[in-house]
Subunit: 350 residues, 2 copies
Amino acid sequence: MATDKEGARGRRRHRGNNRVTIEDVAKEAGAAPITVSRALNTPEKVSARLRERIDRAVEALGYVPNLIAGGLASAGTRVIPVVVPSLSILTFIEVIHGIQQTLEAAGYQVLLGSTDFDLDREAALIDSVLGYSPSGVILTGLRHRERAAHRLKAWGRPVVEIMELGEPCIDMNVGIDNAGAGACMAQHLLDRGYRRIAFLGTGMGMARDYRARERYEGHREVLEAAGVESGLLFQHDEPSSYELGRQLFLEALEARPDLEAMHFANDNLAAGAILEANRRGIRVPQDIAIGGYLGLSLGEHLTPRLTTVTVPRFGMGVEAARLLLTRLEGRSLASSRVDIGYELSVREST
Amino acid sequence: MATDKEGARGRRRHRGNNRVTIEDVAKEAGAAPITVSRALNTPEKVSARLRERIDRAVEALGYVPNLIAGGLASAGTRVIPVVVPSLSILTFIEVIHGIQQTLEAAGYQVLLGSTDFDLDREAALIDSVLGYSPSGVILTGLRHRERAAHRLKAWGRPVVEIMELGEPCIDMNVGIDNAGAGACMAQHLLDRGYRRIAFLGTGMGMARDYRARERYEGHREVLEAAGVESGLLFQHDEPSSYELGRQLFLEALEARPDLEAMHFANDNLAAGAILEANRRGIRVPQDIAIGGYLGLSLGEHLTPRLTTVTVPRFGMGVEAARLLLTRLEGRSLASSRVDIGYELSVREST
DNA sequence: GAACATTATGGTAGCGCTACCAAATAACCC
DNA sequence: GGGTTATTTGGTAGCGCTACCATAATGTTC
């Protein structure tokens, strides 16, 4: 019964990809392949009776849709590439976590790409991932090669740029105001009565993390407006680490023994500094005050607890994913730009 | 001159996916699409002259291959799903980093999946990612639902199971000997002269991180063999954090004030404990010795520096990716099981 | 119950690429 | 030069699915 017409199974061309196809399910359920497709993708368009038969067939055969084929036919796989500068920076990881959790719950998969802060690699990576016909893309930052930005705009699907906020963006933008965050900590240090304040960071050349530079600019403007020495900057160009924080701390202390406060570009550096201060018996904040940026949980466990500007990294990922999903589901967007905000967490180190 | 036969461009069916296709390149270069395909995938099979013309056309038109179409035709996208239990655990992140860096250099993309330590979700996720016709798969651990393991075996492409070592594995296996690592630290603590030694961990029920349980078993056996109290176990079921380390530390101290050493299931917990000891003025290791597992860089910056069992997390990712690539490139494998090893890093906390 | 709107199913074609095989061309040998 | 063997190129078909349209079944209205 129901002999295979037109050549039968098994005459498959390529190396036996013996997976169950939609056709197998259709036969099993006594329906057309297209109807099976509908039953899976838009169940409300298939009668309950048939749908049930199809579901049973799917179950019985262990059918798993070939998303590649589906993607080719409908020009859109359920993949969202997320392109970040580095996977060794905890911040990006936490953002990715938020993105991944939100997207996976909605049936999308995250494709990971990292650029090592190189805009050319970013452009190449964008080209490459567009080859997967993704449903949308999430990028880090607002600065990209012209070619990449242009291609993404022409592409016409949802694109979210994260981490920073500004004009122009390709499509949607979720981030925080870096200059504001830098200014916020600087203002706090001033309010605390500190006057000789340094900024300590890393990779702040244009090539690497220019967001740290924006924070520095915000910091500098506040100090300048207050009529305080504003150009105290210590920086290296290696990736952030506890070790680098330690080094910056010692260097700054040696170069300017009169410093009252240190504003670190991130909590990793600040933590390295506090840990070194602990080791040397330097009292924080009595001898030197220390402020950070990020809100890593480590900060709350140091002695003294680290004063920092807390940024909802996970939340930023969730929000970016939500924006993307909203657009993918065709719902309209209240705003295509979301300021995720930050919060000054005053603790013991300042 | 060369008018478009058969209906011309622009009669494209779906929503104007106006990307440049291989056909456009072929026309531009005056060759057949299949030849363009060859020029890109197996350049050595195309004459230098033609290849150059094609390369120029690719450049001129900004052609980017549609990997979805290629994947459908040749049954294999250059995607490697990496399935881990959680993205909030630094260890997995570092492993993923190693994998990602190695695979991306070889032109593969990492597809990220997380299971939240749920084997059913893992099985569902495996089904789902197989729908992307990936070139291979990397999984965490050796324990999976029967259905998932069976499906992957039948699938016939490279599969690497990471993090732990053992039998049976689906295909290839890169990891470390957890029981051995636990025993190693226990032995060290004994060698140091400590006798009342506790193990402190988290999520060690079968459902969650059973690798920590294996370390505990290794630890216990060593203590038992030494004729020392061996069942001292403190554990919670929340995810690891500094905070949890702090709590476990205090609980253990209260329950057993006579403890001489604490063996933590990982460095996050151990660091939380040391930081709390710092805060309370409890001397480590004089009052209580503390050992960890992982080799996080934080450990080297604590006071005292943390004695730990260092595991090459990044290296494990690199090795897993290498194994996979070796198989994908058709080269033969020295061994399908790699013990990545660990190293006892004796520092100040024991 | 005829005329229409609505919903449920199926047929066909094609997404863009590459496996397979056939044809054309170049290279080589007595 | 005829015959043989490499090398280079092209034609065809189809990977598994879904967009689009056509048709069939059902419901609704007066």
